[in-house]
């Protein structure tokens, strides 16, 4: 039946584009320029149209992929992440002479995996999707083969990624043993039907799954790989994985824990609260000490993972849309910041230390202004999107009675402002001794940066519509 394929059409579009990119690469003469990135954009546009058509239809394919509005909302985020990442990749791919076909194909396969992860309603499919996206991202991290740093980053990322996957899988095994199924609906109804007191087996299943997810969303204490992988990868890839992987992982996290394991909330809620608090604190405090912008943003993204965990814990009638809204906001903002870093990456000079930003305002006033917008939004200043997102999360937490988490969140987000503003101080208030170190900005990348900035203001000033969408979307799963 053709109709049963409907739910996976967005993934098919993206995969097809990825395959086309690979084929194009193999027909490319050395040195010939091909608009391979354009293929990716076409695939993403196809996926966007498909997502639009699937909206509200709640179709399901093979019983394991359900294109409900929750999954589609995340798919939307991933499409935005993909389009922006491709736009920011141009300068890196060209300057570092990376194999364009392979680069974009890997990126597109990773996006397809992320989309699958966001819409999968079976634990085994979530695992497959996780591996599809992870393997592609491992390779992307190390795609600069001539760089020792990149290879090391790729290996560390790979090692801890594979390690955490086994934990995730072990959790699935226990869930299977417990319920005889890996399908989330069945798992959920069987767990709900079982005894009220959690059995050791249930705790093992929840525990191993939690560890697996915690690695993927880089929650403390499973965050060690993040700064290394983020620093070693090309900045466009860092932006991509810090947003896309996180969005997909949080989508699956929310789906698994808010549907199948919802009856055990009393147990995982406590553990996750501690993890969330530690994640926010460690991400912020260690972030203050960084002198490399990418590492700094890596710790910032760890802290933002903590805020997302708070949203997950506090998911109640008031705040259940917070996860989705925060993911969208964070994706656009963080990707914008890494976009600026990618654009400034000069090939032989990465320009990624905080002190490299001295006097950026004199050379690229527009870029400096955009970077300021992204950083202020990450810090949660009104009228940027980050403010609305953080407000949403913290007020949801307070309504859920998690006052401690809300207070930690507010405090850490203020501390984080200091390290974001260190970059602002560098850009505006210090001048550099070596002029003209920054490359020219390609058109496509500047358009993408401008679009991110506009989205940030849109979500910050007129958030109503998207907020309602987020709340309605997540209602389709719980």
């Amino acid at each position: 039946m053709i109709s049963s394929l409907n739910a996976i059409v967005p993934m098919l579009c993206v995969t097809a584009a990825g395959l086309a990119a690979m084929v194009a690469e193999s027909f490319r003469d050395p040195g010939e320029r091909m608009p391979i990135a354009g293929l990716g954009i076409v695939g993403l546009v196809g996926a966007a149209v498909a997502t639009l058509l699937l909206w509200n239809h709640n179709v399901s394919s093979f019983g394991v992929v359900s294109a409900d509005n929750f999954g589609l909302f995340v798919t939307w985020i991933l499409i935005i992440v993909g389009a922006l990442s491709i736009a920011f990749s141009g300068p890196t791919v060209e300057r570092e002479r990376l194999p364009a076909g392979e680069y974009y194909a890997l990126m597109l396969f990773a996006i397809a995996g992320m989309m699958l992860m966001a819409t999968a309603s079976d634990l085994l499919i979530i695992f497959l999707a996780l591996e599809v996206l992870s393997i592609a991202v491992y390779v992307l991290t190390g795609i600069r083969r001539d760089s020792a740093q990149a290879s090391e980053a790729a290996f560390k990322y790979f090692l801890l990624g594979a390690f955490s996957s086994t934990f995730f899988l072990y959790g699935i095994a226990f869930t299977y043993g417990l319920t005889g199924s890996t399908h989330l609906d069945r798992v959920g109804s069987l767990i709900a039907a079982q005894a009220m007191a959690p059995t050791p087996m249930q705790l093992l299943a929840v525990g191993f799954l939690l560890v697996g997810f915690a690695f993927k969303v880089s929650a403390v204490p499973f965050h060690m790989w993040t700064p290394d992988a983020y620093e070693g990868a090309p900045p466009a890839v860092t932006g991509f994985m810090s947003t896309g992987v996180k969005a997909a992982a949080f989508a699956a996290f929310a789906r698994v824990f808010l549907t199948a394991f919802e009856p055990l909330r009393g147990d995982w809620g406590v553990i996750l609260s501690v993890v969330a608090g530690a994640t926010m604190i460690v991400g912020t405090v260690v972030g203050v000490a960084q002198s490399n912008v990418k590492r700094m943003l890596a710790y910032s993204s760890i802290a933002h993972g903590g805020y997302l965990l708070v949203a997950l814990i506090a998911a109640n009638d008031v705040g259940k849309g917070a996860v989705l809204f925060y993911l969208l906001t964070y994706a656009v903002t963080n990707l914008g910041a890494f976009g600026v870093i990618a654009v400034l990456d000069n090939g032989d000079r990465a320009n990624d230390r905080v002190s490299d930003y001295a006097g950026l305002w004199n050379e690229h006033p527009g870029l400096a202004a955009l970077m300021t917008i992204f950083l202020l939004s990450l810090g949660g200043f009104p009228p940027m999107a980050g403010f609305i997102a953080k407000w949403y999360v913290f007020s949801a937490a307070v309504k859920a009675g998690d006052n401690a988490l809300a207070i930690i969140g507010v405090l850490t987000s203020v501390v984080s402002v200091f390290f974001y503003l260190r970059i602002v101080v560098m850009m505006y208030m210090t001048s550099s001794s070596q002029p003209l170190r920054f490359p020219a900005v390609p058109k496509i990348a500047s358009v993408a940066l401008a679009v991110s900035a506009i989205l940030i203001f849109y979500l910050g000033i007129l958030p109503t519509r998207v907020l309602d969408w987020a709340a309605e979307s997540i209602s389709t799963i719980f």
Binding site: I388, Y392, S395, V398, M429, T430, D468
Partner: protein, 493 residues
């Protein structure tokens, strides 16, 4: 009453002008900024002519649903308490544009855009009628101010900017925590609704600590005042004027708008310590002022003393005290703003802020010295000039409730007269310093035009204080009754 959204217009016109500046050349930037701020001032005129002085409610109210799912409303409106501050914001902004005309030569467009963004934030803050909007504008103010100090400031500007940020953000974070708690306890963020459904006394105390910490940093109250001298000294003239003229008033306004009506039980509980801190600020600030050798630092410390009067007046909780406090805020904005303008003008010529480098300016620059004398006398509280009325009201309010604090305030006035007249003596009178003779010290027409409105305000308010007091009388009376009513209820329980 007007039929068009006048408050939104004056709130957002400056930021629109600021955005427009980016698409035009640097030469046009100054004129565009001037036009934007003047237009804002002009269209705010109906606020004064159509204001109903007898009404206790909010006027010129606009209310549009903003984020319906959170019950957040974009609502603005003014009463007698906010009106003087809106007036101050619009006037001071125009003068800041004028004062920076020649002083700012670097990154002119960005400078004026920041200035106009700050104006939007100030007006929006004073017009907001719910706490969400209040907080948004409160935070919005931080960024342009940070840039104004940090980019266009003096040699130690980065230090000053970061110190400013550190203190202000520490305050805002507490306010944000308080805000979320208040929302949870009361289910609303509208000022009037909050005043009608006050939280219980225990919660009020916590909220009072959170909110007052934020406001105290802005005022600044002793002991969180240490950012102010640095920020004032390093900021460019326009930045100092905005700091003194308006930013400090945001704290006092917050106390009046949030602490008094919404948390009256806590206000009564903490009144003693707050009065004591105010008195310390008055006297300590005045003594430290006496020891300063840098003109800008001197005025900065005098601000701490003068703002001590404001908080003293607010926490007397009687009509005289509160009316005096509001008037004192307006006066301090005018007088200290004007003094910073004077300092900035002469600094542009001499490039020094050391008092010792000056002397005999009166002989070289008679017009300048006349203005300086007027503003110094106003700052000293000479009867007939504006500050006298405010300080007199505050002191009489203090004597009505806590006479000892009244005594402290009188002491502060005496010290204030000393340091400010001594400043004038050292700068304007005495032997002409040799280095000054070669400079063309006196003011040009643009500078006279910048100072003249300030002088006019000093005289108008001094001779006819009713011009300001008339607007706030009804609202203050209502505020006093509201906090007293709560006390009665609590007493009866």
């Amino acid at each position: 009453m007007t039929t068009y959204p006048i408050l939104s217009m004056i709130t957002f016109l400056p930021v629109l002008a600021g955005a427009a500046i980016f698409v035009c050349s640097e030469r046009v930037a100054r004129w565009l900024a001037l036009a934007g701020s003047l237009a804002t001032l002009a269209i705010s005129a109906p606020l004064y002519s159509h204001f109903d002085k007898g009404s206790t409610g909010l006027q010129f109210v606009e209310s549009v649903p903003w984020i319906p799912s959170w019950n957040v409303v974009y609502s603005v409106g003014i009463d007698g308490i906010s009106l003087p501050f809106i007036f101050l914001s619009t006037v001071v902004s125009v003068l800041c544009v004028g004062a920076s005309w020649t002083a700012v030569q670097m990154r002119v467009r960005e400078f004026y855009a920041s200035l106009l963004l700050a104006e939007t934030a100030m007006i929006g803050l004073f017009a907001a009628t719910n706490l969400f909007l209040f907080y948004v504008f409160w935070e919005l103010m931080i960024v342009p101010m940070f840039l104004l100090i940090g980019v266009w400031g003096g040699p130690r500007r980065i230090h000053a900017a970061i110190k400013f940020l550190l203190f202000t953000l520490a305050g805002s974070v507490l306010m944000l925590v308080g805000l979320i708690t208040l929302l949870r306890a009361s289910g609303t963020l509208d000022f009037q609704a909050l005043a009608a459904t006050r939280p219980n006394a225990a919660l009020q105390s916590w909220l009072f600590v959170a909110f007052t910490a934020a406001f105290a940093v802005k005022v600044p109250m002793f002991p969180v005042h240490t950012w102010l001298p640095d920020a004032h000294t390093e900021a460019p003239t326009a930045g100092s004027v905005i700091l003194a003229g308006i930013l400090l008033k945001m704290g006092g306004y917050g106390l009046l708008r949030i602490a008094l009506p919404i948390l009256p039980d806590a206000v009564r509980l903490f009144r003693g310590p707050m009065l004591a801190l105010s008195a310390i600020a008055i006297v300590y600030g005045a003594y430290v002022t006496l020891a300063q050798t840098d003109v800008k630092r001197l005025i900065a410390y005098s601000s701490i003393s003068h703002m001590g009067f404001v908080t003293l007046g607010i926490f007397t909780l009687n009509r005289n005290g509160i009316e005096g406090a509001i008037l004192q805020m307006v006066n301090h904005g005018i007088v200290t703003g004007a003094l910073f303008l004077c300092v900035g003008m002469i600094y542009e010529r001499t490039h020094t802020r050391e008092i010792a480098a000056y002397g005999g300016v009166a002989k070289l620059a008679p017009i300048y010295s006349t203005f300086l004398a007027l503003f110094c006398l106003a700052a000293a509280g000479l009867p007939g000039l504006n500050s006298f009325v405010g300080e007199f009201l505050i002191i009489s309010g203090a004597f009505d409730t806590r006479p000892w604090y009244g005594v402290m305030a009188v002491w502060g006035v005496a010290l204030g007269t000393t340091y400010i007249l001594w400043l004038y003596y050292r700068v304007a009178l005495g032997e002409v310093k040799p280095g000054l003779r070669a400079l063309r010290l006196d003011l040009d027409l643009r500078e006279v035009a910048t100072l003249a409105p300030m002088a006019a305000l000093v005289l108008t308010i001094g001779l006819y204080p009713e011009s300001v007091l008339g607007f706030l009388r009804t609202s203050v009376a209502q505020l006093v009754v509201a906090s007293a009513a709560s006390a009665a209820v609590v007493g009866g329980m």
